[in-house]
C-alpha cells in the first residue's frame, strides 16, 4: 500500500513538474516580452509550441509578437520575412484550434501591418479581406470583447479615412468595455487583454462628444 502510494506520489510529482515547466516557460516568455526582448520571447514561445503540440497559445503568441513588432518597420524585406513567419505560427495555431476568434483577429492584425506599411500596395486587397475576417469573427463570437473592440477600431479607421465622424462607433467601444468587465478569466495565459485600450479609446470618444471650450 505504502509502495503504491509512493509510486502514485512520484508519478504525480513528475506530472506536476511537467505542468510547471509549461507554466515556467510561459511565464518566462511573457517576462521576456515585457522586457521588450521580442526575439527571445518569440523564440521561447516557438520552443514551447514545439513541445505542446495541442495547445494553440504558444504559437499564437509567437506569431503575435512578430506582428506587433513589425509595425513601424521601414524595410519591406524585413517586414515580409517577419510577417511570413508570423503567418506560419498563426497557421499552426489555427490548425490546433479551428475558427478561434482570437486567432482570426490576429490574422486581421497581420494584414493591418501590411496596410500600414504601404496602403496603396496592400490596402485595396487586404482591407476587403479584413472586413470579411471581422464579419466572420463577429458571427462566431458576437460577445467576445476583443472581437468587438478590434472590429470597431477597424471601422473607426475607415470612417476617419473618409473624413466621417467616428462618434457613432463610441457606443460599440462602451459595449466592448462592458464585455471586458463581464468576462470570466478562467483559462491560464488566454489573451484576455484589451480593456485598457478600450478605455483609452473611450476617453477619446468622450473628448470629442463633450462641448469644446
Amino acid at each position: 500500500m505504502r509502495t503504491l502510494l509512493l509510486v502514485i506520489t512520484f508519478i504525480f510529482t513528475m506530472n506536476i513538474t511537467a505542468q510547471t515547466s509549461y507554466e515556467k516557460g510561459m511565464n518566462k516568455a511573457f517576462a521576456l516580452w515585457d522586457q521588450q526582448k521580442n526575439t527571445e520571447a518569440s523564440q521561447l514561445f516557438e520552443r514551447i509550441s514545439a513541445a505542446e503540440t495541442d495547445n494553440w497559445l504558444p504559437p499564437y503568441y509567437a506569431g503575435l509578437i512578430e506582428i506587433v513588432s513589425s509595425f513601424g518597420l521601414k524595410d519591406e524585406t524585413v517586414l515580409t520575412t517577419k510577417l511570413t513567419r508570423a503567418k506560419e505560427f498563426l497557421d499552426t495555431a489555427s490548425a490546433i484550434s479551428e475558427n478561434n476568434p482570437e486567432i482570426m483577429i490576429s490574422y486581421a492584425l497581420l494584414n493591418t501591418a501590411y496596410i500600414a506599411f504601404d496602403g496603396a500596395k496592400y490596402g485595396m486587397t487586404l482591407s476587403g479581406e479584413n472586413a470579411a475576417i471581422y464579419q466572420k469573427a463577429l458571427s462566431i463570437a458576437p460577445n467576445n470583447p476583443r472581437v468587438v473592440l478590434s472590429k470597431t477600431e477597424w471601422d473607426m479607421g475607415a470612417a476617419k479615412f473618409f473624413g466621417k465622424s467616428t462618434i457613432p462607433f463610441c457606443k460599440d467601444i462602451e459595449r466592448a468595455i462592458t464585455l471586458f468587465e463581464a468576462e470570466e478569466q478562467t483559462t491560464p495565459y488566454y489573451p484576455y487583454s484589451g480593456l485598457e485600450r478600450a478605455k483609452a479609446i473611450s476617453t477619446e470618444c468622450k473628448k470629442e462628444t463633450s462641448p469644446k471650450n
Binding site: 509502495t3 515547466s21 526575439t39 527571445e40 520552443r47 514551447i48 520575412t81 504601404d118 500596395k121 464579419q135
Partner: protein, 717 residues
C-alpha cells in the same frame, strides 16, 4: 523489496534528471556565424539562442533519441534526430531560404503585377486606374516598356512582333479570342474584365517552356481564388450599364456580372468621322464558380459570353461612297481549371478551355461568316524536391477547327482547316544559392496540320550582384503555326520561328524599381505570299525572315513624392522584316523606333480623390508612298497623347469616375491611304487616316451594396 523499489525509483529519477549538455555552432553556407538562431530539442522546453559567435550551449534532462531543431529568419529550418549525447560540439550549416524576398528572381523578360510578386512593376489597382487605359488591362500594359503604341489597333504589339504573336492565358489555359472585334481604325478592347484577376505576369520574351505557340510574348492572368464577400455592384456609365453579384457559400462561391454597352447616345452627342448605321452595341456576361474541396483542391469554372453588333460606312479614297462594314460577333468562352496539392510535395494542375466564336461580316456586297471552335487540354505536374530544386512538367493538346463561308454575288466559297497540336514540356528551377538561380526547360510540339515536330529549348539565369541589384540572361526558341488568315487558303507550311536573347539589369530599393533590358530577336520561316491581299490563288511559302533588337527601360518610384506614384518607360526598337508580300526587308508599319510613357497618380486625401495623368509618345511609323516607288520608307508624324482620370469617393461605396483620353486634342495620324491609280498629274492622291475621334470622354457612377459598408468598386475601375 521495498528498498529495492525505492532504489530503482531513485535511480530512475536520477536518470531522468541526469543533465546532458547540447552545444555547437551555427553557420551559414559561407561559413559565417548566424546570430540569434533558435536551437532547441523538439518536444522539450530546452533550448537557447546562438550568441554573437553563432555558438550555443544548453542543458537538458532528455535522454535517448531526440530531434534537434535550429531555425532562423530567412534560413531553412534544420532538424536532425539522434542520441542526445551525439549533439555535442556539433556544427550546423543552415541553408538559405530561397523563397524569401531578398532571394534572386529569374525574371529576364518578365513583368509581374500583383501583391505576391517579389518585385511588382504594376499593382492590381494600376491595371484599372491608369489614365487612358479606360478599364482595359491591355491599356495599362501598354505603359510598360517593350510594347509599341498602335493606337488604331488596341492590341499588344511586343518588341517588333505583331499582335498575333502574343498569347493570353487564364489560369494556365489559352484564351483563343481575347479581343472584341472592331472596325478598321477603331481600337479593339480586351474581352476579359480586369477585376477577375489578382495576378498578371507579362512576359516580353524568354518565357517558360510551359507556354508555346507565341513568337513574341505571353500574358498570364490568374483569376481570384476566393471572393471576399457577398455584394452587388451597379455601374451607370455614359456608354452603358453594368450589374454584378457575388454569392458565397461554405465551400463554393459564384460571381456573375453582366454589362450592356451602347455607343449610340454618345455618338449622338460627339459625332466622330464615321457614318454609323448601327453604333456599337454589345452585351456581355461572365460567371465564375469556385469550389474548394476538403483537401487543398480548388476547382474554378469561368464562362463568358459576349455579343457585339455594329454597322458603319468608312471613308475610302478609292470609293466615293465609302466602304460599308457590318459586323455581328458571338463569342462563348469556357475555362475550367483544377489545382491540388498532393502527398510528397507533388502538385497537379489541369484544365480545359473552350472557345466558340462566330463572326458575320458584311463587306459591301460580300457576306463572310467565320466560325472558329477551339479547345485546349492541359495536365501539369509539379514536384517540389526542396526549396532549391523544383520540377514542372506536363502535356497539352490544342484543337482549332476553322471554317469560312464566303458569298458575294454569284461566288460561293468555303475554306476550312483543322489545326491540332500536341505539346509537352519539362522545366527545372534550380537555386544554387540565394544569389544564383537558373531555369532550364525544353518544349516539344507536334503539329498534325503541318506534320512536323519542333523542339524548343529555354534557358534563363539570374545572379544577384548586391543587396539591391541583379543581372539576368535568357535564351529561348519559339515556334508558332501560321495564322488562320493563311491556313484557310494553304496548309503547306512550316512553323514560324523566333530566337530570343535577353540581358537584364534590375535595381530594386524600397518602393523604387529600375530595370534595363537589351534584347535581340531573330525571326525565321515567316510566311510570304505574292499578292496584294491573301487569296486562295496566292502562292505561299515560308521564306520570310527578320530581326528585332532594342533596349527597354523602366523606372518606378513610389517613394520620393508623398501620396504620389509614377512610372516611366522608354523603349528603343530597331526592326526589319521581309515577310507577307514585302518586296524587300523593311520596318513594318506597326513598329515605332521610340516609345515612351509617363504615368502619374496622386491621392489627394482632402478631396478623397485619386487624380491620374498619363502621357504616351511614339515616334512616327513607316508607310509607303507609291509616288516614290519605294516600299515603307516614309515616316509619319509622331504620336502624342495626354490622358487624364479622376476618381472621387463620394462615400465608401459610391464612386464617381471621370476619364478623358487625349485631353489636349492632339491631331494624331494613324497612317495614310493612297489611291490605287495616280491622278492626271501622275501623283497618287492620299487620305490621312486619323483616329475616329480625337478625344474620348467617360463618366461613370459605381455603387456597391454589401453587408460591409467599406467595400467599394475602386478596385474594379
Amino acid at each position: 523489496m521495498k528498498t529495492l523499489l525505492i532504489a530503482l525509483l531513485t535511480l530512475l529519477y536520477v536518470h531522468t534528471y541526469a543533465q546532458s549538455t547540447i552545444s555547437g555552432k551555427i553557420i551559414d553556407q559561407q561559413g559565417l556565424p548566424i546570430i540569434g538562431a533558435n536551437v532547441y530539442l523538439k518536444g522539450t522546453y530546452d533550448g537557447t539562442a546562438t550568441n554573437d559567435q553563432g555558438v550555443f550551449s544548453f542543458e537538458t534532462d532528455a535522454t535517448g533519441i531526440h530531434t534537434l531543431i535550429a531555425s532562423s529568419i530567412s534560413f531553412e529550418t534544420y532538424s536532425k534526430s539522434d542520441k542526445i549525447n551525439h549533439f555535442q560540439n556539433i556544427t550546423i550549416k543552415l541553408r538559405d531560404d530561397v523563397n524569401t524576398l531578398d532571394a534572386v528572381t529569374v525574371n529576364a523578360g518578365t513583368f509581374n503585377a500583383g501583391d505576391n510578386a517579389k518585385v511588382t512593376a504594376l499593382k492590381p489597382l494600376d491595371i484599372v486606374t491608369t489614365a487612358g487605359a479606360l478599364g482595359d488591362f491591355v491599356g495599362a500594359l501598354q505603359t510598360l516598356p517593350g510594347t509599341s503604341n498602335v493606337a488604331e489597333d488596341g492590341r499588344l504589339f511586343v518588341r517588333g512582333g505583331d499582335a498575333e504573336e502574343t498569347q493570353i492565358f487564364v489560369d494556365g489555359m489559352r484564351v483563343f479570342t481575347p479581343y472584341s472585334p472592331s472596325a478598321n481604325n477603331i481600337p479593339s478592347r480586351g474581352r476579359l474584365s480586369p477585376f477577375l484577376f489578382k495576378g498578371i505576369t507579362f512576359s516580353t520574351g524568354g518565357y517558360s517552356a510551359e507556354y508555346g505557340q507565341a513568337l513574341s510574348s505571353v500574358l498570364l492572368l490568374n483569376s481570384v481564388n476566393e471572393p471576399q464577400e457577398e455584394k452587388t455592384d451597379i455601374s451607370i456609365m455614359t456608354v452603358g450599364l453594368g450589374l454584378g453579384n457575388t454569392q458565397i457559400w461554405d465551400k463554393s462561391s459564384l460571381s456573375v456580372n453582366a454589362n450592356y454597352i451602347n455607343l449610340a447616345p454618345y455618338q449622338e452627342l460627339y459625332p466622330d468621322n464615321n457614318e454609323w448605321h448601327k453604333p456599337v452595341a454589345s452585351f456581355g456576361g461572365e460567371a465564375v464558380y469556385r469550389y474548394k474541396f476538403n483537401n487543398d483542391g480548388l476547382l474554378k469554372v469561368y464562362g463568358a459570353y459576349s455579343a457585339v453588333d455594329f454597322d458603319l460606312t468608312q471613308e475610302d479614297i478609292n470609293e466615293v461612297n465609302g466602304v460599308r462594314f457590318g459586323l455581328n460577333n458571338n463569342n462563348l468562352y469556357l475555362n475550367t481549371s483544377y489545382q491540388d496539392f498532393m502527398e510528397k510535395d507533388w502538385s497537379i494542375s489541369t484544365g480545359i478551355s473552350f472557345a466558340s466564336d462566330q463572326t458575320k461580316l458584311k463587306l459591301d456586297t460580300a457576306d463572310i461568316t467565320d466560325t472558329e471552335n477551339s479547345a485546349h487540354f492541359k495536365l501539369a505536374l509539379k514536384k517540389y524536391f526542396s526549396s532549391s530544386y523544383k520540377l514542372n512538367f506536363g502535356a497539352e493538346y490544342f484543337i482549332t477547327d476553322f471554317k469560312e463561308d464566303y458569298s458575294a454575288n454569284t461566288i460561293e466559297n468555303e475554306y476550312k482547316f483543322n489545326n491540332n497540336l500536341l505539346g509537352g514540356f519539362a522545366e527545372a528551377d534550380i537555386f544554387f544559392s540565394k544569389n544564383l538561380a537558373t531555369k532550364v526547360g525544353l518544349r516539344g510540339e507536334y503539329s498534325q496540320l503541318l506534320q512536323e515536330f519542333n523542339l524548343s529549348p529555354r534557358l534563363s539565369l539570374a545572379y544577384k550582384a548586391g543587396q539591391n541589384a541583379q543581372f539576368s540572361l535568357a535564351y529561348g526558341e519559339f515556334f508558332q503555326n501560321p495564322r488562320n488568315e493563311y491556313l484557310k487558303f494553304n496548309t503547306d507550311f512550316t512553323a514560324e520561328k523566333t530566337t530570343h536573347y535577353i540581358a537584364n539589369y534590375q535595381f530594386v530599393k524600397n518602393k523604387q524599381i529600375f530595370r534595363a533590358e537589351a534584347y535581340y530577336k531573330d525571326y525565321n520561316n515567316l510566311v510570304k505570299y505574292n499578292t496584294a491581299f491573301t487569296l486562295s490563288t496566292s502562292t505561299y511559302d515560308n521564306t520570310g525572315n527578320g530581326f528585332a533588337k532594342g533596349l527597354d527601360i523602366f523606372w518606378r518610384d513610389n517613394k520620393t513624392l508623398k501620396n504620389t506614384e509614377y512610372w516611366m518607360s522608354y523603349s528603343y526598337l530597331d526592326t526589319k522584316r521581309n515577310y507577307r508580300n514585302y518586296p524587300t526587308k523593311a520596318t513594318p508599319d506597326f513598329a515605332s523606333k521610340h516609345n515612351a510613357s509617363l504615368v502619374v497618380k496622386r491621392w489627394v486625401e482632402d478631396w478623397k480623390s485619386q487624380i491620374g495623368f498619363s502621357y504616351n509618345y511614339a515616334s512616327g511609323r513607316s508607310y509607303t508612298d507609291p509616288s516614290t516607288g519605294r516600299f515603307l520608307t516614309e515616316q509619319a508624324k509622331s504620336f502624342n497623347s495626354l490622358n487624364f482620370n479622376y476618381a472621387y469617393l463620394i462615400s465608401p461605396q459610391k464612386i464617381l469616375y471621370l476619364s478623358v483620353s487625349n485631353v489636349l486634342g492632339t491631331k494624331n495620324i494613324n497612317g495614310y491611304q493612297y489611291a490605287d491609280q495616280p491622278n492626271t498629274d501622275g501623283i497618287f492622291d492620299r487620305r490621312t487616316i486619323t483616329p475616329a475621334a480625337d478625344r474620348f470622354f467617360f463618366i461613370g457612377f459605381f455603387w456597391t451594396i454589401s453587408k460591409n459598408k467599406n467595400y467599394n468598386q475602386l478596385d474594379n475601375l
